[in-house]
């Protein structure tokens, strides 16, 4: 393993603030992440996710507050912080016109991994990525799953205790995606702390905890399972109606309905109470000439939770446990 400090939280963020002129990009964010934890950042574009990540990577100096990464203060020791982290973005981190081995060498040089250590690490990376025998293939010629595992190998060549992943499995075959997450979860099991920034719930599900960031503030924090089950205000129903257009209009106007949207050939309806809605909605729809052939409660997705929290706009500090 690495020279990281044991027994310490991997990342401690305390009232972190970043202002650009009069614009506050990150507004007093506080959280801690343990060693071996996979933490996901979710939020709209411009929410402050990338600003936060750039501060944690030692690339941007905080305006106020403090962040410790692997025990190092990001404001005082940004260079040392950068030696302790790995960063991977599926879309941008490889050189397509370099071969597999040349890419590894390039990142080895960047992180000062040389000699025997480079031989050991590059051999490990080739094995992990399933690229042994394809050392002289151009990176641009690799299928997306391999490309992504090579990018991961390059990002962790220097055995960083903390790894940042930016939409890591975007555009990847679901089978390759599962293989990738298996690798990430293995790394986490050995104590590597992983940050994931994503818009996609497919990726968010793999995190141990999720931080929802909105307008520079932390508006929700918890395990995916906990957020999905407890953070949604109301219950989600799936309705099959004929015709859909008038059904949507009727539902949007119905009392007790918080939100209604078309979803494929069904309607997803958020209601205050599932029981009274199931009892009353079919009659209300029938009065408008809409036939409701099926109504049932469904599990909200993480996306339902986040859209509601972001739509509400009013930031709440921390979701209920």
């Amino acid at each position: 393993m690495s020279a990281a400090q044991p027994d310490r939280a991997a990342v401690v963020v305390d009232r972190l603030v970043k202002r650009f002129g009069t614009f506050t990009a990150v507004d007093g964010v506080t959280f801690g992440v343990d060693r071996g934890e996979i933490m996901g950042f979710l939020g709209p574009n411009g929410a402050g996710k990338s600003t936060l990540i750039r501060m944690l990577c030692g690339l941007l100096r905080p305006t106020s507050g403090r962040a410790l990464v692997a025990g190092l203060d990001v404001a005082r020791e940004p260079e040392a912080v950068r030696q302790h982290i790995g960063y991977m973005s599926q879309r941008f981190s490889l050189y397509g016109d370099l071969t597999v081995l040349e890419n590894l060498r390039f990142f080895g040089g960047l992180y000062g991994v040389e000699g025997r250590e480079f031989a050991a690490r590059s051999s490990w990376a080739l094995e992990m990525a399933g690229l042994r025998g394809r050392e002289s293939t151009l990176a641009s010629e690799l299928a997306s799953g391999w490309k992504q595992r090579l990018a991961l190998g390059c990002a962790v060549l220097h055995r960083p205790p903390i790894l940042f992943l930016d939409e890591p499995t975007s555009g990847v075959d679901p089978i390759a995606r599962r293989a990738f997450w298996e690798l990430i979860q293995q790394m986490a099991a050995t104590g590597v702390t992983v940050f994931v920034s994503t818009h996609y719930m497919d990726e968010a599900e793999y995190c141990h905890r999720l931080a929802l960031i909105h307008r520079g503030r932390l508006v929700g924090l918890g395990a995916p399972e906990v957020l999905r089950r407890h953070a949604l205000r109301g219950a989600l129903l799936e309705l099959e109606c004929e015709p859909v257009g008038p059904a949507l209009e009727a539902l949007q106007a119905a009392p007790g309905v918080l939100d209604a949207a078309v979803f494929g050939s069904t309607l997803h309806v958020l209601v205050g109470s599932a029981e009274s809605a199931c009892a009353e909605l079919p009659a209300q729809l029938a009065a408008r000439g809409v036939r409701c052939t099926r109504i049932r409660t469904i599990e909200p997705t993480l996306e339902d939770v986040f859209v509601q929290q972001l739509g509400a706009g009013a930031p709440q500090e921390g979701a209920p446990p």
């Binding site: 574009n45 939409e167 679901p174 089978i175 996609y200």
Partner: protein, 315 residues
Amino acid sequence: MPLTEPVDAVQVEALSKRFAGVTAVDGLEFRVGPAEIFGLVGPDGAGKTTTLRMLAGVLPPDAGLARVAGCDVVREAEMLRNRISYMPQRFGLYEDLTVEENIRFYADLFGTGRTAREERAGRLLAASGMSEFRRRLAGQLSGGMKQKLGLTCALIHTPRVLLLDEPTTGVDPVSRRDFWRILYSLVDEGVTVVISTSYLDEAERCHRLALLRSGRLLLCDTPARLKGRLRGEVVVATSPRPRNVRDALARAPGVLGALLVGAAVHLNVDDAARIPELQRALAAAGVPCDSMLRVEATMEDLFVSVVGEAEGSGG
């Protein structure tokens, strides 16, 4: 006056395209009905973009036939262009023009008059929450807003068929919902939508899906029926030690697959009635388990199972 055509909006037969020895699209067959949202789903390299480009009449097929909005994509490409709208992955927005100016540019290109333009742009911008940004430079919009502006420009004339290539890549969940709300309202007007995505959770919003891999059609059906094809059922176990749960149950009788997902384990079992039996197996192995519940299968479960079977049988 929307034309109600009895024919399919899109008709694809034995469509193929090769690039330098690589078969990007390999004998594709599907039909899309009027006012349907049809999803092309698959990873990068599955052939989604190549298919859309052929449907848009900008890339000639090597073999096979494609008719879109009643036009043969090769022989009637000119007429096709007036009936469809195609939004490629990188839609050509002018970054140094404002939102308003970009819309005007595309309206002129499509020959949309001022009144129609004003009416349509106003409605689309309002639906996507962009009304207050009319005077902002396109280059200063966020990723999600750029995509919504792209859609507004692509829809400034009234196409019969709308072709969208991964329109929501890099777009946050809130903007993504706005985007889909607009698509559903177009369908109400009778527009047919063919949309590609590499995200299986998003695919469930389509009326029908074509699952693609390596240029071939694996399956084509409604999301509900596709998920119904999954062998067995999906059970989610939560535990403080998920890894141990996975290891203890991966080879248990009736378990077809076990996948570690964060703090949970997704088990593909032949029958959810095995839950008590699986719980006993964990207890016997001394592995704690907080809950074990049957959940609905996702498109990803289905995709992995279908591709796994195809490969397992040497296909």
